[in-house]
């Protein structure tokens, strides 16, 4: 027994489609041509002979003219060739009943009764109908290709996102280990606490890095821990101002997105002078999240090298992929201030 998907594949076969079309055409025309109360052998023979010119016209049009001329937008050539094909097919129909039928079926007496304009009507209907079927099949094929391309694009985006997310952890880990290394060299009592904090931060990152979305509340808890971790390693934690709005449970955000901007504050921010500040603010209006980070910078300090600038570039790319039309990122880099303003419309 043929399964539904096998039947569907069978119906998509062009040969099967045309076989069905000609079968329907034969059944229709044999009833149309029948002279008498029931269908006789002569009606079947006549209908078969009549189909010679129809099959000729439709086949040439569908398998040669449409794909080679109309599909390549050669409208003028197509019109001329189609007109020629119609004329030849009309002649073929007359020839079939005037001569061919006598050779193939000598016991039967056929005459080409149809006038040229009636044959023209038949041919236009058949060529037109099969052309429309070809157009509809092309349309469905195009839709399928578009769908496949969209799926491929989505797959590509997912792969890229995964790759971008996987680049965050080593980067963060590198900076963190440098800090712990510095604590351990000094044999600081803060070393074990720093390792514990780092392990919690890494756990969150590892647990959530493969997810498309995480609860905003969890993500902000992570950001808070991240800031606390940094505050623990600097001399003037009071120069860091962090405010975070209350967040409802329902809002979701892409993981490890905000922390990149926070990390950059600590990476490139200067806190050595008394008026140096790092200001981090997270606010929420309905479902619109606004993150502002601002830090003092040292004009004499070297610009971030390629490896350290990677995190910001990654997050830009992720924002474009995940919140294409739903985010706004504004970065102002003046002589001694670096300010980031990020707005995201969350789900």
């Amino acid at each position: 027994m043929t399964k539904p998907n096998e039947a569907s594949a069978l119906l998509q076969n062009r040969g099967v489609q045309y076989a069905i079309f000609w079968l329907v055409s034969f059944l229709f025309l044999v009833n149309y041509f029948t002279q008498g109360y029931d269908i006789g052998l002569i009606d079947i023979v006549y209908t078969l002979l009549f189909h010679i010119s129809l099959v000729f016209a439709v086949s040439i049009n569908s398998f040669y003219l449409l794909p080679n001329y109309l599909a390549h937008e050669k409208y003028y050539k197509y019109s001329i060739l189609l007109s020629g094909l119609i004329i030849i097919s009309m002649w073929l129909n007359i020839f079939t009943f005037q001569y061919l039928s006598d050779w193939i079926f000598p016991g039967y007496y056929f005459v080409s009764y149809y006038e040229w304009w009636e044959l023209l009507e038949f041919l236009i209907i058949y060529v037109g109908l099969t052309s429309m079927l070809e157009f509809s099949k092309s349309w469905f094929r195009e839709m399928q290709v578009r769908r496949e391309m969209a799926e491929l694009e989505q797959e590509r985006v997912q792969t890229e996102l995964k790759a971008l997310r996987s680049q965050i952890n080593p980067h963060f880990l590198f900076n963190s280990l440098n800090h712990i290394y510095a604590l351990s060299v000094r044999q600081s009592v803060q070393t074990s606490k720093a390792v514990l904090q780092l392990s919690e931060l890494l756990r969150y990152a590892i647990d959530h890095m493969d997810r498309d979305r995480v609860p905003l509340r969890k993500e902000l808890e992570y950001v808070t821990q991240f800031i606390e971790w940094h505050k623990a390693r600097i001399d003037h934690p009071e120069r860091i101002a962090f405010t975070c709005a209350e967040t409802p449970d329902k809002l979701q955000i892409a993981p490890l997105l905000l922390v990149v901007f926070v990390e950059n504050c600590f990476k490139h921010g200067r806190l050595s002078r008394i008026d140096d500040r790092i200001i981090i603010s997270v606010s929420l209006t309905d479902s619109t999240l606004k993150l502002i980070t601002e830090n003092s910078t040292d004009p004499d300090r070297e610009l971030p090298n390629e490896s350290t600038g990677l995190g910001l570039e990654n997050v830009r790319r992720r924002l474009n992929l995940l919140y294409d039309e739903r985010h706004h990122l504004d970065i102002q880099n003046t002589i001694n201030r670096y300010r980031v303003s990020l707005t995201i419309e969350l789900e």
């Binding site: 002279q35 008498g36 002569i42 039967y108």
Partner: protein, 192 residues
């Protein structure tokens, strides 16, 4: 509608059968005005052993034909035309024939009979080949021919249009079985 018309024609079938037994009759004439020709040498009296036909010109395309067989006379309208390489004579009852009108009145539907005709000896002899009813009826009965028709009381009445009749006649003009092999030969005994 078709049946009613056919029933109206039935009395005519008997009438035209007087002229040539075994002829095929048709609802439609064999010619449109385009194919009609007028040959003045046809006018006159034509005769064989049993029949006499008197042709008179009515206008440039029509002949009045008085058909006489023994004591029976019938007035017919004759039209001569050329299809392909052959001449054909289309005969039908004269609707103004008083005798026919008195006999059958409004029940008459004039059907047509056709002959392939050839002239010999400087138009002095005319051979009329009637379409073979045996051949056509057999093909129709065996369903080996496609031509519009009706059958009533074993009598075939062609209902094909003039254009269809012409195509059929042209294609099978040289088919030996399509015409009676023994033509009715007439000799012109008086010229106009």
């Amino acid at each position: 509608m078709k049946t009613k018309r056919l029933l109206r024609g039935i009395p005519m079938l008997g009438l035209v059968a007087v002229i040539v037994t075994g002829c095929i009759t048709s609802v439609h004439p064999l010619f449109t005005d385009k194919e009609l020709i007028f040959r003045p040498e046809l006018i006159g009296t034509w005769q064989n052993d049993n029949e006499t036909m008197v042709f008179r010109g009515i206008d440039s395309t029509h002949y009045s034909v008085l058909y006489v067989e023994k004591t029976d006379t019938t007035e017919l309208i004759g039209r001569l035309g050329k299809l392909g390489d052959h001449y054909y004579l289309d005969m039908t009852i004269d609707p103004h024939d008083q005798k026919v009108n008195d006999l059958l009145g409004t029940y008459i539907f004039p059907v047509h009979i056709f002959f392939k005709v050839s002239f010999e000896n400087g138009q002095l002899n005319m051979n009329a080949f009637a379409f073979s009813s045996d051949w056509l009826e057999k093909l129709i009965q065996e369903r080996r021919i496609r031509i519009k028709h009706e059958v009533e009381n074993d009598q075939v009445l062609l209902t094909a249009s003039t254009e269809e009749l012409q195509k059929f006649v042209i294609k099978y003009a040289d088919e030996p079985k399509a015409f009676d092999s023994d033509p009715s030969s007439y000799k012109r005994i008086t010229a106009p």
